[in-house]
């Protein structure tokens, strides 16, 4: 990985001040930090007989029982509808925010806050007042996405070439200036990012099924959890196909039709109980001692929260390990899907592998590794690294495909190390730093492995209906995310022009 850069800097090792060396040093620091902290993580490998269960899983994937599915059409339609409308509402909320993003500290902080909480946790929060309804599903997607869109759109808009704006005659109004001399220049990038985000929304929409909204994930999770692997296999294949064919059914021209059509599939709609909503917002979310102004009681309340510091430590450690793991996986896997390497068959296989890895919910990957390796932090680490690494690899391959190697005669390793990697590495690293925030968020949903991350305790608090505790832990998570985000913004390669807006 940073080897290519190091070579170009020889004989001085990693000393020097070129951008490439700075990146190499940062990557190595990250990896070193991970290696140093690794002994703190529980990494035991306990394997006894995972093979019969894995065999059942494999046979489920190989021979999916399509006929035993309880009509998946409805679930697929709802999955698409929720993803589509969740994204759309996210845009409607996020775009205006993007316009004031750079000017308002309040907007920036608010957006960072809503982004910091995982879609599943938003869903659990809204579940309490809106029940298992479309409002819960849409809000769980639209609210964090509004924060994400606001940030990314603002960054893209910031990079609008200034020349056309400067050429305008004096006195042109803000709106006219925006629609003529700014928006058209970045439209492609905004659209590309929105498309990518829609694919994320598809995955999130499936994930919402895990907490009970009747999307594809509802059936997938039940079947997988109860060991009905032939059914789970069929559903998983359906989901892969859905993601792989997104370019076809999600075509620009079909979108308006899809949007209007899918609106009729959304539902059910809640009857909103004002008292309940008010009680939840004004009472349930806040610790009783706080409401009563009992400060000593508040301390006692804080004391009852189980193992807050270890949870924060575990979350950060798993986040760091996941980030470094994702970096290594991405570096190893991106050539598989790039046009510069292999032949048609290997590329098809490589792309398939990347789609499978990035579309398979982490929870399932983690479960497979749990069987293989036993209960420790290892399965969670592998799941995070593979899932996110595959995602970054996919975008890196796309970036590499847009490049033209200057020396066509080089062999594969030369192309990798000298031609392509040095050019895509800054982008790849920038992407990884963006992803770090997401990885931290995702550590939350791997609590079933018994790793007590913050997310594990949030999930427990929701299960025990201790909403005040859940809300407090969510705030802690959000604060942690803000910190990590600030840190990654500091260290991410800033001088890189991310020509692929999907890199976020």
């Amino acid at each position: 990985m940073p080897r290519a850069e190091a070579i170009s800097a020889a004989p001085g090792g990693l000393r020097g001040d070129s951008p490439g060396l700075r990146l190499a040093r940062r990557s190595l620091t990250l990896i070193a930090a991970c290696v140093v902290l690794l002994p703190l993580a529980d990494m035991a490998v306990i394997t006894r007989d995972p093979w019969s269960e894995l065999g059942r899983m494999l046979s489920g994937m190989a021979w999916p029982h399509w006929w035993s599915l309880p009509s998946p059409i409805g679930a697929i339609a709802l999955t698409v509808a929720v993803a589509l409308w969740g994204t759309l509402l996210g845009i409607l909320l996020g775009f205006p925010l993007a316009l004031v993003f750079s000017r308002s500290r309040l907007v920036r902080a608010g957006c960072a806050f809503v982004r910091a909480i995982h879609e599943l946790f938003w869903a659990l929060l809204f579940l309490q007042v809106f029940g298992l309804t479309a409002v819960t599903a849409l809000a769980a997607l639209a609210i964090p996405y509004a924060g994400i869109f606001a940030k990314v759109y603002a960054e893209i808009l910031e990079q609008t070439p200034p020349a056309p704006r400067d050429a305008l005659p004096p006195g042109v109004g803000r709106v006219s200036r925006f629609v003529y001399a700014e928006l058209p220049l970045v439209w492609e990038r905004l659209a590309a990012y929105t498309r990518y985000r829609f694919e994320c929304a598809m995955r999130a929409s499936v994930l919402l099924g895990f907490v009970g909204l009747p999307t594809l994930g509802f059936h997938l999770e039940s079947a997988f959890r109860e060991g009905r692997y032939h059914e789970a296999g069929a559903l998983l294949w359906l989901f892969y196909l859905l993601i792989a064919s997104l370019g076809v059914w999600g075509h620009r021209r079909l979108l308006p039709l899809l949007v209007v059509g899918s609106a009729f599939l959304l539902g059910p709609w809640p009857r909103i109980d004002g008292d309940l909503l008010w009680r939840f917002v004004s009472r349930d979310l806040w610790p009783a001692p706080l409401r009563e102004g009992d400060w000593a009681g508040l301390l006692a309340w804080l004391g009852e929260i189980p193992e807050l510091l270890p949870a924060i430590g575990n979350t950060l450690l798993l986040g760091l390990m996941g980030t470094v793991g994702a970096l290594l996986v991405a570096l190893a896997l991106w050539p598989l899907a790039s046009r510069h390497f292999g032949n048609r068959a290997t590329r098809l296989g490589g792309r398939g592998l990347l789609i499978a890895l990035r579309s398979t919910p982490e929870l399932m990957l983690a479960f497979i590794f749990l069987l293989l390796l036993g209960p420790s932090m290892l399965p969670a680490w592998l799941a995070l690294a593979l899932h996110n690494g595959a995602l970054i690899a996919f975008l890196a391959a796309r970036h590499a495909d847009a490049l033209q190697p200057g020396m066509p005669g080089l062999n594969a390793s030369g192309r990798y190390a000298y031609e392509l990697l040095p050019r895509i590495y800054p982008g790849l690293l920038a992407l990884l730093f963006y992803r770090a925030e997401v990885i931290i968020r995702e550590t939350a949903i791997l609590g079933m492995l018994g790793i007590a991350t913050l997310g594990f305790h949030i999930d427990s608090s929701f299960a025990y209906l201790m909403f005040d505790q859940a809300f407090f832990l969510l705030l802690v998570t959000a604060a942690l995310n803000l910190g990590v985000d600030a840190l990654s913004r500091r260290f991410r390669p800033r001088d890189v022009v991310l020509d692929d807006p999907c890199s976020r």
């Binding site: 020349a163 704006r165 400067d166 050429a167 305008l168 005659p169 004096p170 006219s176 200036r177 001399a181």
Partner: protein, 230 residues
Amino acid sequence: MSQATLLDLRDANLGYGDSVVVSRLSLTLRAGERIALLGASGAGKSTLLAELRQRLAERAAWCPQSHGLVPQLAVYHNVYMGRLERHSALANLCNLLRPNRRAWAEISELCRELGLDGLLKRPVGQLSGGQRQRVAIARALYQQRELFLGDEPVASVDPHQALRLLALIDKRHATSVIALHQRELALTHFNRVWGLRDGRLAIDAPADELTLADLDRLYPDAHDANDAEG
């Protein structure tokens, strides 16, 4: 030449922020003058033009060196942007979806004169360099101001075409200040020359009192080369 004075600079220091690019500048711009602005790159031509543009504000049409076109929009919309401030935001929005009929007629007439007929609906990104240059000029002409400010507006067209474009600009503007690098053109086609060298106004004289050799002195490399030969 007792024309009205449009602009009068006395001992002005021009630049960006704290850095002064052109110092102690004194000059006068009168109505009806056609001024060629010469100087090596970095001599301060763009700085001076930016200053003129700012001071003359609504009286000057502006054609920037980088064109400042929007490649994704059609030729029509790019030219239309010359008068963006004269319509309401709503009218401008509607015009994006469905061209305003009067504007369309005017712009297609203008484009015909510039040899851009038939290209009105084509995105600017698909045009050749010369065509883009003409679109940028069309946008400036469409502004319909009394004065034309251009930063190398005829840099990327052939000499024959340059003459035609300059004639078109003259036809529609009584006064013009145009940065150039074609020295011959400055002498034949303009009635006054401003020459900048190292951030100072080295030449401010009627074109017919100058020779090519005078102008050569504005370009240090060329001058040194002559010295070396001589």
